[in-house]
């Protein structure tokens, strides 16, 4: 009977590292397939946005002032004051207006 060879720690470590790297590599390589699948959805969304002249994604539909954030009054999402955490979560997830954007260009 031959004595069982003990596997070296470095071999185990390289296997573990190699497997982790391989898993990440496979997932990253699969992104090409996912992106190709997504391209059709993106094209349909773009077509809808263009034909209907849409200006905003339908992400925050709960409040009028948040639905079309780019079209709303400045501070609209901050009914109380800038930075206010308010009733609708969308409001607290909108940033305060950029004061520098209000300045005239040099």
């Amino acid at each position: 009977m031959t004595p069982q060879r003990k596997r070296r720690g470095s071999t185990l470590a390289m296997w573990a590292l190699g497997l982790c790297a391989l898993a990440l590599l496979l997932v990253l390589l699969d992104s090409g397939r996912l992106a190709a699948l997504h391209a059709e959805a993106l094209r349909q969304g773009q077509a809808r946005a263009m034909s209907d002249q849409l200006t905003d994604p339908a992400l925050f539909t709960e409040a009028r002032f948040a639905r079309h954030a780019s079209q709303a009054d400045r501070h609209a999402a901050f009914q109380d004051h800038p930075m206010a955490l308010e009733h609708f979560p969308a409001g607290s997830l909108m940033p305060p207006p950029d004061a520098t954007a209000l300045m005239p260009p040099p």
């Binding site: 993106l42 969304g45 209907d52 002249q53 997830l93």
Partner: protein, 382 residues
């Protein structure tokens, strides 16, 4: 005869063997550290991946939004504008086309949701017909052929026949949309025939957008002009902000982890210091001890980074980021179901890597270096 290169490789393998044996001796502690580390990378990477993908998606979807939108302000608030404004902006040099847009909101108490009603200029539905978004169809339980009954501005019921439900693929822009005929829109909201919600302008030369906006403001002083670039910036800012809010929460975990790593690193246990002393007494030099500890830190952090990043990728692009949609969803009833497209960004991976792996390795090495430079006799006697 062995080459020096092989000798170097063999010595590194020996150091790794020793590091693995070391890690195995404190299995529980190192496993806990590995799990905490993986969780940290997973959360940070998820936020960054999700935020970046969402930002990119919004940018691409709205790439063809109107170049300029002109609104009328009355007493500082958005108001309907007269149709004659169309003629006034059409005559401006640089304006290729101008169209009046009709859109508004309707709160449906039955579904407890806000709908966006829109009367498109391009291929409008027939009178009495409505085309609805997939999220709206889901929330109201309606489909093609059903009747959507809503109360108009005067309280009278208004019945729309659903002629189409938008494809699920466009849900990110059409979730709550109701496309109706312009005549139906005006009758439903009581909007006079010569009024529009706002104007959409297309500009012949994209570089003249700012100039055209100034001309519009000169001609229509009571107007507010919103450029496509500003719409894009609004969402860039919103997603940056949201990413920032989440990262602020996560920074507490990052700090906790930094404390853990610092504690583990700066407070080398007496056992570990004695071990270093013994190694030095056996003939290891400072460089060997440092290299061994470097391998130990690098193996733990590299594996944690790879596993954490892979899990984050799966979480965001395969499982639709269930951890964050809950934050996003809020109290909204009509929430779009959408998938995001992955995009490999090496700079992003490198940033995450340097943010998580390097500090840990550095924190592990510094105290070991202090202990390793001491006299072995002194270290063992402590």
């Amino acid at each position: 005869m062995s080459f020096p290169h092989n000798a170097w490789l063999e010595s590194q393998r020996g150091l790794i063997d020793f590091s693995i044996a070391n890690l195995g001796r404190r299995r529980g502690r190192n496993l806990g550290l590995f799990l905490a580390y993986t969780l940290l990378v997973f959360l940070l990477a998820s936020v960054v991946l999700y935020g970046d993908a969402l930002r990119r998606e919004a940018r691409l979807l709205l790439a063809d939004a109107p170049e300029l939108v002109v609104q009328r302000l009355t007493a500082g608030r958005h108001d309907l504008l007269p149709a004659e404004w169309l003629d006034r902006v059409r005559g401006l040099r640089g304006v290729r086309a101008a169209e009046g847009r009709l859109w508004g909101y309707h709160y449906d108490p039955a579904a407890q949701a806000n709908y966006t009603l829109l009367a498109p200029n391009d291929a409008p539905p027939a009178p009495g017909q409505v085309e609805i978004g997939a999220a709206l169809a889901r929330a109201s339980g309606l489909d093609v052929g059903d009747v959507l009954s809503l109360r108009g501005f005067d309280g009278k019921p208004f019945a729309f026949n659903i002629s189409r439900v938008f494809e699920a693929e466009s849900e990110l822009v059409s979730a709550d949309l109701m496309r109706v005929n312009a005549a139906d829109f005006r009758a439903f909201f009581g909007v006079e025939p010569d009024l529009y919600t706002d104007l959409a302008l297309s500009v012949a030369n994209p570089r003249e957008v700012r100039k055209v906006a100034e001309k519009v403001l000169d001609r229509l002083p009571g107007a507010r002009v919103i450029a496509r670039e500003e719409m894009r910036r609004t969402y860039e800012a919103a997603f940056n902000w949201r990413q920032g809010v989440l990262l602020t929460f996560l920074s507490t975990i990052l700090l906790a982890f930094a404390l853990l790593a610092w504690d583990k690193a700066s407070g080398l246990s007496a056992e570990e210091r004695r071990e270093i002393g013994i190694l030095k007494a056996l003939g290891w030099d400072t460089g060997d001890v440092l290299r061994m500890k470097l391998w130990e830190g690098a193996l733990v952090s590299l594996c944690a980074f790879l596993v954490g990043y892979t899990l984050a990728w799966l979480h965001v692009f395969y499982a639709d980021a269930p951890l964050f949609t809950a934050v996003l969803k809020g109290w909204s009833v009509l929430y779009p179901q959408f998938r995001l497209a992955p995009q490999i960004d090496l700079a992003q991976i490198a940033t995450l890597f340097f943010l998580t792996v390097l500090p840990y390795v550095a924190a592990t090495i510094a105290p070991v270096w202090r202990a390793a430079t001491l006299d072995p006799d002194e270290v063992m006697r402590e």
